[in-house]
C-alpha cells in the first residue's frame, strides 16, 4: 500500500538536504576515515542509515504527489496489484533466511546496485513528468538518492569492499517503450516507486544491522526500524 501523503511542506529544507548529501558524498574522499585509529565506519553507517530514513520520509511525500498525478487506481490506498512485467526493476523483497545469510559485502553490493538502477529509472520518470512542480520534486529526490548512493559507496570503501562494476551492456537505460501502453507505463511507474520504498526499508534494516555490528557492545544503541505499509 502506498501511503498517499500531501504535497511536500513549503519549507522543505533543500539546504539541509544538499548539505547532508554533499557531506555523505564526500565521505569516501575524507582521508581521516582511512586512517588507523579513526572511529571507523560507524559514523558513516549511521549517517547512511539516517539518510535512508530521511529518504523514506521524502518518498512518502513524493509518491503521494506522483500517484495522484497518475490517477486511480494507482493512488488508491488499497491498490496492490501482482507484480508482473517489471522484472527489470531490482527486487527488494527477499526471503528472510536468504537475507540473514547475506554477508555485509553482499548486502552493500546489492544495495548499491539496486539504487544505481532505481536512480536511472527515476530520472527517466522525471523526464516524462508533465508538470514542472513534479519534475522539481523528482529532481530533488534524485539528488537525495544520488547522495545515498554515494554514502553507500563511502561505507563500502570504509569497509574495504570494492564497488560493483556494471557489466558492459547491462547498464540500465530508460526508454519510453513503444510497445507499452500508457496504462502499463503508469503501472511501471507505480512499481518503481513501490520498489524504491521497499528498498529503502530494506536498506534501513541493512544499515541498522551493520551499525549494531560495528558498534562496541557496551555502547550499542538499539534502533527499531518501523516497517509501515506501502
Amino acid at each position: 500500500m502506498l501511503p498517499v501523503a500531501g504535497e511536500p511542506a513549503a519549507g522543505d529544507s533543500w539546504g539541509m538536504l544538499a548539505c547532508l548529501c554533499t557531506v555523505l558524498w564526500q565521505l569516501p574522499a575524507v582521508p581521516a576515515l582511512n586512517r588507523t585509529g579513526d572511529p571507523g565506519p560507524g559514523p558513516s553507517i549511521q549517517k547512511t542509515y539516517d539518510l535512508t530514513r530521511y529518504l523514506e520520509h521524502q518518498l512518502r511525500s513524493l509518491a503521494g504527489t506522483y500517484l495522484n498525478y497518475l490517477g486511480p487506481p494507482f493512488n488508491e490506498p488499497d491498490f496492490n496489484p501482482p507484480r508482473l512485467g517489471v522484472e527489470t526493476l531490482p527486487k527488494a523483497t527477499v526471503n528472510l533466511e536468504v537475507w540473514r545469510s547475506l554477508n555485509d559485502k553482499l548486502r552493500l553490493t546489492q544495495n548499491y546496485e539496486a539504487y544505481s538502477h532505481l536512480l536511472c529509472y527515476l530520472r527517466g520518470l522525471n523526464r516524462q513528468a508533465a508538470t514542472a512542480e513534479l519534475r522539481r520534486s523528482l529532481a530533488h529526490f534524485c539528488t537525495s538518492l544520488q547522495g545515498l548512493l554515494g554514502s553507500i559507496a563511502g561505507v563500502m570503501a570504509a569497509l574495504g569492499y570494492p564497488l560493483p562494476q556494471p557489466l558492459p551492456g547491462t547498464e540500465p537505460t530508460w526508454a519510453p517503450g513503444p510497445a507499452h501502453s500508457d496504462f502499463l507505463q503508469k503501472m511501471d511507474d507505480f512499481w518503481l516507486l513501490k520498489e524504491l520504498q521497499t528498498w529503502l526499508w530494506r536498506s534501513a534494516k541493512d544499515f541498522n544491522r551493520l551499525k549494531k555490528k560495528m558498534q562496541p557492545p557496551a555502547t550499542a544503541v538499539t534502533l527499531h526500524l518501523e516497517a509501515r505499509g506501502f
Binding site: 498525478y69 490517477g71 486511480p72 487506481p73 508482473l84 508538470t131 500508457d182
Partner: protein, 973 residues
C-alpha cells in the same frame, strides 16, 4: 437420325451462351468487379483500411464508379454497416478507403466485402451492380499475446464531451471482471462470449496524464488511458504589427489549454503570397517581410489539433502597423541648476524613416513638460525652467512619423539639477531670558522649504552685531540641521542676522533686533477659543509704525523644553488663525502676540490662552479634610492646579452623601450621581476657591464627599467617595472633664474605703441613740405617743418561739469580720434563732431580719432569730446579703411565699428594713395582702442592748439557751 438430333441439340446449347454473351457486350457495359481487396487495421485510429483495384478498364479510360461496402462483425452474416463510396477510377488504380469503427477493432473479428457499379454519365443506363467480392477478414486478435485480459482501445485520444466505446477481452471465462472509469464502477454490454463493451458518454477531462479505465479480475489489472482533450478554442485578439518594417509579429490569445501534453499547432498563412509559416509559440508568430515590398497582407491563423481546426484572418497594412522599438541610451547630456540637455537614440525603421519622439519631464511623479521631437537616429532636447537641486525624471517614447499607430515603450532616466544659493532668508524668531540681568537670546529658525533651499543646507551663520558698538561683530556657525542656538548678550542693543548656507552660497539674511532690556510682561491674558481650523485670534495694534506681528506658542506645552513655534504676520494684520497639526484637544496653549517695531524690536502685545477643544478634567484634586467637628468639616484641595488641565476650570462640584440618606443640606441640591446613587451636590463657580466648609452635620454620622472640577466640557471622572465620620458632641467633655473626675473620685473612693474605719472612727463614731429608733416611733404611733424609749414591756410578742437548742450547737457570730475571739467582749453579737421543725408549734413561725447597721449591739440579743447560723459558715459577713448562698435562696423563696399562700409546714420569712420602715408608711392604708396575725407580727423587736448587759461573749464552746432570753415576764403582748 438420333445422332443428328443429338448433334443439333449440342450445337444449340453451345450457341446459346455465345448468343447471350454477344448480346451483353454489344448492348451493355461489362460489370467491373473490385479485385485484390485487402483489409488492414489501424489500431491507433481504430480504422479498417480497405485497398483494392478495378481491372478491365481501358488504359485511357476514367470511369466514375460507386463501390458498395458491407462490414460484418464476429461473423460474416452479422452486417453492421453498409455504405457507398463513389470515386473516379483509372485502370489499375489502387483504391483506398477507411472505415472508423466505434468498437475497438481488437475486440471483434470484422469481415468486409464490396461490389461496384459504373456511375458515369457517358455510360448509358441501365447499370448493374457487379457481384460481391468475397468476404475479407480483419482479425486483430491474432496479434494479442497470452494475457488473460485485454482492454481496448489503447491510449485513445478523445475530445471532451464525446462518446467512447471501450471493450475488454477475457480469456478466462470464470473470472469475475469489474471495470472502472477512474474510481467509478462501470457496467458494460456483452458482445460475445468473452467480449464486453462499455460505452462511455460525454467523457470529461481529468488530468494531463489521461483518464484511466481499467478492469480487474483475479490477476493483474489491465486498463487503458483515455487522453481527453479540451475543445480547441478559436484564437482571440488576433493582431499583427511590425517593429522595424522587416518582421511582422502576430499575436493572439490561444484560450484555455487543451489539457494534453501534445499542444495544438498554429500555422500562419498569407493568402496574397500563398506562403505559410509554422508558429513556434502558441500565442505569437513572426512573419518575415520579403524584399518584394508587399504592403498589404491577408493573414490567416490556423489552430489545429487532432480533432479540430480553428482559423481567424486579418488584413494587415504594413505601414499602418508600425510599432517602433523603444528608444535607448537616454541620458542627461548636460545639467545645470535650471537646464538639462537630454539625449537618446532610436532604432532605424525601414529606409531611414523618421520617428516622432515625445520627451516628457516629470517632477514629483507628474508630467510638467512635454516636447515632441522628430528623430531619425539621435534625439536631443534642451529642457529649461528647471528648479535647482531638484530630481526629475525624463522619459521618451517614439512613434512612426509617417503614420502614427502606437507609441513605443517608454524609457526613462532620472537626473538632478545642480544646486544654487538659497533663495530666501530663514524665518527667525527669538526667545529672550534674562540671567543676572544679561539677556540670553535663544534664536530659532525654521528650515527653508525645498523650494528655497536650492540644495542641501550645510550650516547657518549667526552674526551678532552690537548696535552700541558698531565695530563689534560676533559670528556663529551652526551646522545643519540645527534650528536654534543660544547667544548671551550684554545690556546693549543688538541686531542679529541669520543666513542659511548650502554648497553654493548663503541665503539672504534674516534680522532680529534685541533691546537688551527686559520686556514688559505685564499684559493681561485673554482667552481664545479653538475651532476645527485652529485658533482664531485678533489683537489691537498699539503702534502705527508696526512693521509686523509675530504670534508665538509651544506646539507641545506639556513636554518641556518648549519647541517654540511662531507665525509672522504683516503690519496690516490684526488677526490670524493659528493652526498646527500638533494641536491636540484638551491641551492648553498659551499664545503671545508681539508687535515688531520699525527698528525690528518685538514688544509683547497680548497673551492669550486657549484650548483647541476643551475636555472634561482628566483627574480630580486630592482633597484633604481639615477642621473636623461634630457639625462641620472643611475640604481643601489647594494643590490642585487650574492651569494644566484639559480645559478652563470653571469651578468645582462638591458631592456629599450621608448614610442616612436624609435631605440635602442647605445650598446643596439633590442629584443623581453617575453610578445612579443619589447624593447632594454643591457647585463652586469660582475656580480659585479651593476650600469648602461642609456645615450643619450631625454628630457621630458618616458622610461621604467627593470633589471634582468642571470645565465647559463637563466634570471630572467619578472617583471614590471619601468617608468622614463626625465626632460625638460630648466627647471633648468626656475627654477633658469627666474622665479626670472619674479618676479623682476613684482615687478618693479607694482611699476612703481603705481608710473607712479610720474615718469613721475619727469623723462619726457610732453613737447609739435610742430615741431615734424607728421602732420607737412605731410604738409611739400605735399606742403611746409620748413614749420615747422603748421598754421591753411595751413589746407584745405575737408569738413565742421556743428554741430548744441542743447541746453542742454552736452560736455563730455575725456582723463582724473579726474572729469571734477578737470580738469577744467588745462587739455586740446577734444571736439568730431559727425555728426547727421539731420544736416548731403554733400557726407559723416568725422570723425577722434586722438591720444590723442600725443596731449591732442589741441585735444579737434580738427576739427574733435573724440568720441561721450553720456550722458551715465559720465567718459571718457584715451584712445579711453576705450570707451563704443557700441561705439566700431560702430567704428569697420564703419571702416570696409569704406574699402569697404559705404552704402548711413551711416557715415564713419576713424581712423588715429598719431604715425603710415599710410598715410605718403603709399602716394607714390596709395592705393588699395583710399578713395573718397568727403568722407573724408586723414588727420585730429590735433592742439596743448595752454592752454591759450582753451575755457573755459567745464562743465556740459557749451555748446560749433561748429560754434565758425568752423569759415569760419579758414576753410582749
Amino acid at each position: 437420325m438420333a445422332l443428328f438430333a443429338v448433334l443439333q441439340t449440342t450445337f444449340l446449347l453451345t450457341l446459346l451462351p455465345l448468343r447471350t454473351y454477344q448480346s451483353e457486350v454489344l448492348s451493355e457495359p461489362l460489370p467491373l468487379t473490385p479485385e485484390s481487396l485487402k483489409v488492414s487495421i489501424n489500431s491507433t485510429k481504430q480504422c479498417l483500411h480497405l485497398q483494392w483495384t478495378v481491372h478491365n478498364l481501358d488504359y485511357h479510360q476514367e470511369l466514375k464508379m460507386v463501390f458498395q461496402i458491407q462490414i460484418s462483425r464476429f461473423k460474416a452474416s452479422n452486417v453492421i454497416w453498409m455504405g457507398n463510396y463513389s470515386t473516379t477510377v483509372k485502370r489499375n488504380q489502387v483504391l483506398h478507403w477507411s472505415w472508423e469503427s466505434e468498437l475497438p477493432l481488437e475486440c471483434a473479428i470484422h469481415f468486409v466485402r464490396m461490389r461496384t457499379m459504373v456511375d458515369d454519365a457517358r455510360i448509358p443506363a441501365p447499370r448493374f451492380w457487379s457481384n460481391w467480392s468475397s468476404w475479407e477478414k480483419a482479425d486483430a486478435q491474432n496479434s494479442l499475446g497470452d494475457h488473460p485480459l485485454y482492454v481496448f482501445p489503447k491510449d485513445k485520444l478523445v475530445e471532451e464531451g464525446s462518446d467512447v466505446t471501450i471493450c475488454y477481452i477475457s480469456r478466462n471465462h470464470q473470472d469475475n471482471i469489474s471495470c472502472y472509469l477512474e474510481d467509478e464502477l462501470t457496467y458494460g454490454k456483452q458482445l460475445d462470449q468473452n467480449v464486453w463493451a462499455f460505452k462511455l458518454k460525454n467523457v470529461s477531462f481529468h488530468r494531463k496524464t489521461g483518464t484511466n479505465f481499467y478492469c480487474k479480475g483475479q490477476g493483474v489489472p489491465e486498463g487503458v488511458v483515455l487522453f481527453v482533450s479540451k475543445v480547441l478554442e478559436e484564437p482571440k485578439d488576433f493582431s499583427c504589427e511590425t517593429r522595424d518594417l522587416k518582421t511582422v509579429t502576430c499575436t493572439w490569445d490561444p484560450g484555455s489549454d487543451t489539457g494534453l501534453i501534445q499542444l495544438p499547432s498554429y500555422t500562419l498563412f498569407e493568402s496574397f503570397s500563398g506562403k505559410k509559416t509554422l508558429c513556434k509559440h502558441r500565442n505569437r508568430c513572426d512573419w518575415q517581410v520579403t524584399q518584394d515590398s508587399q504592403e498589404v497582407y491577408n493573414f490567416t491563423l490556423v489552430a489545429e489539433n487532432y480533432f479540430r481546426k480553428r482559423s481567424v484572418s486579418i488584413l494587415f497594412n504594413l505601414i499602418h502597423g508600425v510599432h517602433p522599438l523603444a528608444p535607448y541610451n537616454l541620458f542627461p547630456k548636460s545639467v545645470s541648476a535650471t537646464n538639462a540637455t537630454m539625449s537618446w537614440k532610436v532604432s532605424s525603421i525601414g529606409h531611414n524613416s523618421a520617428l516622432l519622439c515625445q520627451l516628457q519631464l516629470l517632477g514629483e511623479g507628474k508630467v510638467i513638460q512635454q516636447h515632441n521631437i522628430s528623430v531619425r537616429v539621435n534625439g536631443e532636447y534642451l529642457l529649461s525652467e528647471l528648479k535647482p537641486d531638484t530630481e526629475y525624471v525624463a522619459r521618451v517614447h517614439c512613434a512612426y512619423a509617417d503614420h502614427f499607430w502606437k507609441w513605443s515603450e517608454l524609457i526613462s532616466q532620472n537626473f538632478t539639477t545642480a544646486e544654487a544659493a538659497p533663495s530666501e532668508a530663514p524665518d527667525v524668531w527669538r526667545d529672550v531670558t534674562f540671567v543676572s540681568g544679561h539677556p540670553t537670546v535663544t534664536l530659532f529658525w525654521k528650515p527653508l522649504s525645498k523650494v528655497h533651499t536650492n540644495g542641501k543646507i550645510l550650516f547657518y551663520n549667526v552674526v551678532v552685531e552690537n548696535l552700541d558698538e558698531p565695530s563689534s561683530l560676533e559670528v556663529l556657525s551652526v551646522p545643519a540641521p540645527a534650528n536654534s542656538t543660544k547667544v548671551t548678550l550684554n545690556r546693549s542693543s543688538y541686531q542679529i542676522y541669520v543666513t542659511a548656507h548650502n554648497s553654493v552660497g548663503p541665503s539672504p539674511a534674516s534680522a532680529v533686533a534685541i533691546s537688551g532690556h527686559p520686556e514688559n510682561e505685564n499684559v493681561e491674558e485673554g482667552r481664545v477659543n479653538g475651532t476645527e481650523d485652529g485658533f482664531h485670534m485678533s489683537w489691537k495694534p498699539q503702534s502705527r509704525n508696526a512693521t509686523g506681528y509675530v504670534v508665538e506658542w509651544c506646539d507641545d506645552p506639556q513636554n518641556l523644553p518648549c519647541v517654540l513655534q511662531w507665525k509672522n504676520l504683516g503690519p496690516t494684520n490684526t488677526g490670524t488663525v493659528i493652526s498646527s497639526d500638533a494641536f491636540r484637544p484638551g491641551v492648553r496653549y498659551d499664545f503671545r502676540i508681539y508687535e515688531i517695531s520699525a527698528k525690528g524690536m518685538a514688544h509683547l502685545l497680548e497673551k492669550k490662552a486657549g484650548y483647541l477643544k476643551e475636555l472634561a478634567p482628566s483627574y480630580n484634586p486630592e482633597v484633604a479634610t481639615i477642621n473636623l467637628t461634630s457639625h462641620s468639616f472643611t475640604l481643601s484641595w489647594k494643590d490642585y492646579s487650574t492651569e494644566s488641565q484639559t480645559g478652563f476650570i470653571q469651578g468645582y462640584y462638591v458631592y456629599l452623601k450621608s448614610k442616612t440618606g436624609e435631605k440635602c443640606h442647605r445650598e446643596f441640591e439633590k442629584t443623581v450621581l453617575p453610578d445612579n446613587s443619589v447624593g447632594c451636590k454643591y457647585t463652586i463657580d469660582n475656580p480659585d476657591q479651593k476650600t469648602f466648609v461642609v456645615k450643619d452635620l450631625q454628630p457621630e454620622s458618616v458622610y461621604e464627599f467627593f470633589v471634582t472640577p468642571y470645565t465647559s466640557a463637563g466634570e471630572g471622572p467619578l472617583d471614590d467617595f471619601t468617608k468622614v465620620t463626625t465626632p460625638d458632641d460630648y466627647s471633648h467633655i468626656l475627654t477633658h472633664i469627666i474622665l479626670p473626675m472619674i479618676f479623682c473620685v476613684l482615687v478618693v473612693t479607694i482611699t476612703c474605703y481603705l481608710k473607712s474605719q479610720w474615718l469613721k472612727d475619727k469623723c462619726y463614731p457610732d453613737i447609739p441613740d435610742p430615741y431615734k429608733s424607728s421602732v420607737l416611733s412605731l410604738i409611739k404611733f400605735k399606742e403611746n405617743p409620748h413614749i420615747t424609749i422603748m421598754n421591753v414591756n411595751d413589746c407584745v410578742p405575737d408569738a413565742i418561739e421556743v428554741v430548744n437548742k441542743p447541746e453542742g450547737s454552736k452560736i455563730q457570730f455575725i456582723g463582724t469580720r473579726k474572729s469571734p475571739t477578737e470580738t469577744k467582749g467588745t462587739k455586740p453579737v446577734y444571736l439568730d434563732l431559727l425555728p426547727t421543725e421539731k420544736n416548731y408549734s403554733g400557726p407559723g413561725p416568725c422570723i425577722c431580719f434586722e438591720n444590723f447597721t442600725y443596731n449591732q449591739a442589741a441585735s444579737d440579743l434580738g427576739y427574733c432569730g435573724h440568720f441561721p447560723v450553720t456550722p458551715q459558715a465559720p465567718h459571718c459577713q457584715l451584712g445579711p446579703l453576705t450570707s451563704p448562698e443557700n441561705l439566700l435562696k431560702t430567704l428569697e423563696q420564703n419571702y416570696m411565699n409569704s406574699l402569697g399562700e404559705i404552704p402548711a409546714g413551711e416557715a415564713n420569712l419576713n424581712y423588715v428594713s429598719q431604715l425603710a420602715s415599710p410598715m410605718s408608711g403603709d399602716k394607714e392604708s390596709p395592705p393588699a395582702n395583710p399578713p395573718e396575725p397568727a403568722l407573724c407580727s408586723e414588727y420585730k423587736m429590735q433592742m439596743a442592748i448595752p454592752l454591759g448587759l450582753a451575755s457573755p461573749a459567745p464562743s465556740k464552746n459557749s451555748s446560749l439557751s433561748s429560754t434565758a432570753l425568752l423569759d415569760p415576764s419579758e414576753h410582749c403582748h
